[in-house]
């Protein structure tokens, strides 16, 4: 693991209402040397991200800039009140937060659910239990976020993942 940009530490926000899964994902992320904030609900996640007011986030509400920088959000899908899907939608609607990569986790393999999340901007969809091999897939998304790549040509082609395996990746990132 080389630090091309010095000691860049990535900060991941993990959201899961299950204590055990929270402990697991936190440990998985920490072994990959990420900084982790783990919260127990979609509401707490919105609070942390400064989106709790449910107002249209515009250029004038700059309070989010002062907050702790989050480089990736990984969230469970099935949560009471605010689901992972709700969280995804809110983040992607926010002008200040929409570029943060979002990954969804779920214990259930529901193709329509997976497609819906990917279509609405989730970078990856992991089936639980999440493993080290899944967490290893986060790095490219984190690196992309940090570097703010404009050059599409440099990006590796993303293979279609018709999973016999347990993750799905969104195709055609940011081609617009």
């Amino acid at each position: 693991m080389n630090g091309l940009e010095g000691e860049t530490q990535f900060h991941v926000l993990a959201v899961d209402d299950s204590i055990i899964d929270r402990k697991l994902i936190e440990r998985l992320l920490k072994t990959s040397s990420y900084q982790v904030t783990a919260v127990e609900s979609g509401v707490k996640a919105l609070e942390f991200l400064g989106l709790l007011d449910d107002e249209e986030d515009d250029e004038f509400s700059n309070s989010n800039c002062q907050r702790v920088e989050v480089n990736l959000i990984i969230t469970d899908y099935s949560m009471p009140a605010v689901t992972g899907y709700d969280l995804l939608r809110k983040i992607k609607k926010s002008t200040s937060l929409r570029d943060i990569p979002v990954v969804i986790m779920s214990s259930e393999n529901v193709p329509s659910r997976i497609n819906s999340c990917l279509e609405h901007g989730a970078e990856e969809f992991f089936l639980k239990p999440v493993r080290q091999s899944d967490v290893n897939k986060l790095r490219p998304h984190l690196m992309k976020g940090k570097k703010e790549i404009q050059n599409i040509n440099k990006r590796k082609p993303v293979e279609e993942c018709l999973s016999p395996d347990r993750t799905r990746t969104r195709l055609n990132h940011d081609l617009e």
């Binding site: 055990i20 402990k23 697991l24 998985l28 214990s107 639980k128 239990p129």
Partner: protein
């Protein structure tokens, strides 16, 4: 002198795990948990499993309370508890418990009370079995850690021995 050696205890641990894997009580996810345990998090597995035990016992109590009520069995609520138990069982590798949950959930979706009662009994049995075996596992692990500490005592005690 101290009874069993580090090697013997290690072998006991592996043998116990092998049996549990062979029986389908545990699956590969339990190994994933072990891989996450290291010097920086030396008790990770037992911490997670302890949380699992607390949570599961609460859920099992809730399920029994729901089923005991002959008049009104809230199958919806049962489903919610089962999903939770299924999820956490899956996360620690408790494969058999998870499979019983699946059967239980199927019965609850059909409002099949006798089926649910049978599934709950099986669930309680499987849970007891797993809890006993994992307690045994962690006890052996602790003994092994003690045995290793005795064999390799702290460096301060050997002033003239640079090995440590």
């Amino acid at each position: 002198m101290l009874g069993l050696s580090v090697e013997q205890l290690g072998a006991d641990m592996n043998r116990l795990l092998a049996i549990l894997f062979h029986q389908g009580v545990l699956d590969e996810q339990f190994l994933q948990l072990q891989h996450l345990q290291d010097e920086s998090s030396p008790n990770f597995v037992s911490e997670v499993v302890t949380i699992y035990f607390h949570e599961s016992e609460k859920l099992l109590r809730n399920l029994r309370a729901l089923l005991v009520d002959k008049e009104l069995s809230d199958y919806n609520k049962m489903g919610i508890h089962l999903n939770q138990l299924m999820g956490s069982s899956s996360s620690i590798g408790a494969q058999r418990i998870r499979n019983v949950c699946i059967a239980f959930r199927a019965a609850s979706e059909l409002n099949n009370r006798p089926g649910c009662l049978r599934a709950l009994e099986l669930l309680e049995y499987e849970y007891c079995y797993l809890k006993n075996k994992l307690h045994e596992f962690f006890q052996i692990e602790q003994q092994r850690m003690l045995a290793a500490a005795v064999r390799y005592p702290a460096p301060q005690q050997h002033i003239n021995n640079p090995q440590g």
